[in-house]
């Protein structure tokens, strides 16, 4: 079985995994980082979104073995101690969640969106760019508001 070594949220991690082990399984079951959620397991819902070498990906459709040597950031890696990341703070402030299941993926996808498209995002752009993340509570309205506010708050970081 392949041995994977990667940096997750700033810490190095290493384990022997099966070839078929998915990144989301590795994060949740080996590293016990259960903030990354597994929703549809078919790369549609985006609940499992993490950053792989700085880019948002659906960790249910990435092999853990393929991430050897990579840098991974999960929802647990965004806050600095008790200080929430501006995007997390914006979701709290604007009530960008209902049941909360999709929230980790929404936030990781939102930060990726800001990294790709900048801090000044109009609502239409946010809705288009959020195509890969589904909220089954259909609470998109506040999610969009939260992402716009979080994007602005990330300016200069």
């Amino acid at each position: 079985m392949p041995i994977v070594s990667m940096t997750v949220n700033g810490l190095s991690a290493s384990a022997e995994v099966e070839g078929r082990t998915l990144l989301v399984q590795y994060l949740r079951e080996h590293l016990k980082l259960t903030g990354t959620h597994e929703g549809c397991d078919t790369s549609q819902c985006g609940c499992c979104t993490v950053h792989l070498d700085g880019k948002g990906v659906k960790s249910c459709t990435v092999l853990a073995a393929a991430c050897s040597g990579a840098t991974v950031t999960t929802i647990e890696g965004l806050a600095q101690g008790d200080q929430l990341h501006p995007m997390q703070e914006a979701f709290r402030e604007h009530h960008g969640l209902q049941c909360g299941f999709c929230t980790p993926g929404m936030i990781m996808s939102a930060v990726d969106m800001v990294n790709r498209m900048g801090n000044d995002l109009d609502a239409r752009t946010v809705r288009e760019q959020l195509e890969g993340n589904l909220c089954r509570c259909t609470g998109y309205h506040n999610i969009v508001k939260a992402i716009q506010a979080g994007a602005a708050a990330m300016k200069g970081r």
């Binding site: 392949p2 099966e18 070839g19 078929r20 998915l22 397991d41 078919t42 790369s43 549609q44 985006g46 979104t49 792989l52 880019k55 948002g56 990906v57 659906k58 459709t61 990435v62 092999l63 073995a65 393929a66 050897s68 996808s109 990726d112 969106m113 790709r116 760019q129 195509e131 890969g132 993340n133």
Partner: protein
């Protein structure tokens, strides 16, 4: 998903050797189609050979009159490339419309065309522009590359290294996305190339194909009205829960007209 042996060689020779030694090994690029297929147990391989460890398969460069895109270049990179936007905006737009942003960060052009999903977008761009597929063994013209449902001209141990797109005079891609998957229910790529007008249709048949009748009409007059009264034959086209063959025939006509209008109104692409 059944388990498999995983390897990530550092050279094309090692990849080819692994494929030659094991007939039941498969190449892994971005995995956006292959991994879901394995999860659903629609396919099973004894091993996956990951191409992500090979330097030089990722990137975009201008080579004379052609734009050469490395096989492992993700869709998001093609979509965001200033060079592609300037010389081949239709291809940048096509890449930016595949799946969703997270899928585009991972999926690759080489993986897409090797997989040859009948509803994928890239095959329409490759065939519509008359591109050349560069492999570890040879150069394959787009017209010879897509041979059937999930079938290509690639041999078992042959590896796509890049795709070379001749820069067209004008081009555009229009697709009607299937609402859940964003795959093309029907997508039409239209290009005015040095060799004439090319029209490639994806999503409608078992594999991407050229609409020769439309090409001939647009060669005479490159405007949407040139396609008036013209339709594909429904016989042999896809008919499934998403759309009947007749509906796809209709949509192909609409998408072709939209693509012609966009291509004709666009600034010269170089």
């Amino acid at each position: 998903m059944y388990d498999f042996a995983y390897s990530r060689p550092a050279s094309l020779d090692d990849v080819a050797a692994a494929l030659s030694a094991h007939g039941d090994f498969k190449l892994l690029a971005g995995g956006m189609s292959l991994i879901p297929t394995l999860k659903l147990r629609l396919a099973r391989y004894a091993g996956l050979v990951d191409l992500s460890g090979i330097v030089g398969l990722n990137g975009i460069k201008r080579d004379g009159d052609a734009m050469v895109i490395g096989a492992m270049t993700p869709h998001s990179v093609v979509a965001a490339s200033a060079e592609v936007a300037n010389t081949l905006p239709a291809l940048a737009s096509l890449a930016g419309g595949i799946g969703d942003p997270l899928v585009r960060n991972r999926g690759t052009i080489g993986g897409s065309i090797a997989y040859a999903d009948p509803a994928a977008d890239y095959p329409a761009g490759v065939l519509g522009l008359g591109a050349t597929v560069l492999t570890s063994r040879r150069r394959i013209a787009a017209d010879d590359f897509f041979t059937g449902l999930f079938e290509t001209a690639l041999r078992a141990d042959e590896i796509i290294t890049a795709v070379s797109f001749p820069v067209p005079r004008a081009a555009a891609y229009a697709k009607l996305p299937q609402q859940a998957s964003r795959f093309a229910l029907v997508g039409v790529f239209v290009a005015q190339t040095a060799g004439g007008v090319r029209v490639a249709v994806t999503g409608a048949g078992p594999a991407v194909f050229r609409w020769r009748q439309a090409e001939a009409a647009l060669e005479r007059r490159f405007e949407p009205a040139a396609l008036d009264g013209m339709a594909l034959e429904a016989d042999g086209l896809n008919s499934d829960i998403h759309a009947s063959a007749e509906y796809r025939v209709h949509c192909a006509g609409v998408m072709a007209r939209r693509a012609v209008r966009a291509a004709a109104s666009g600034a010269p692409s170089h």
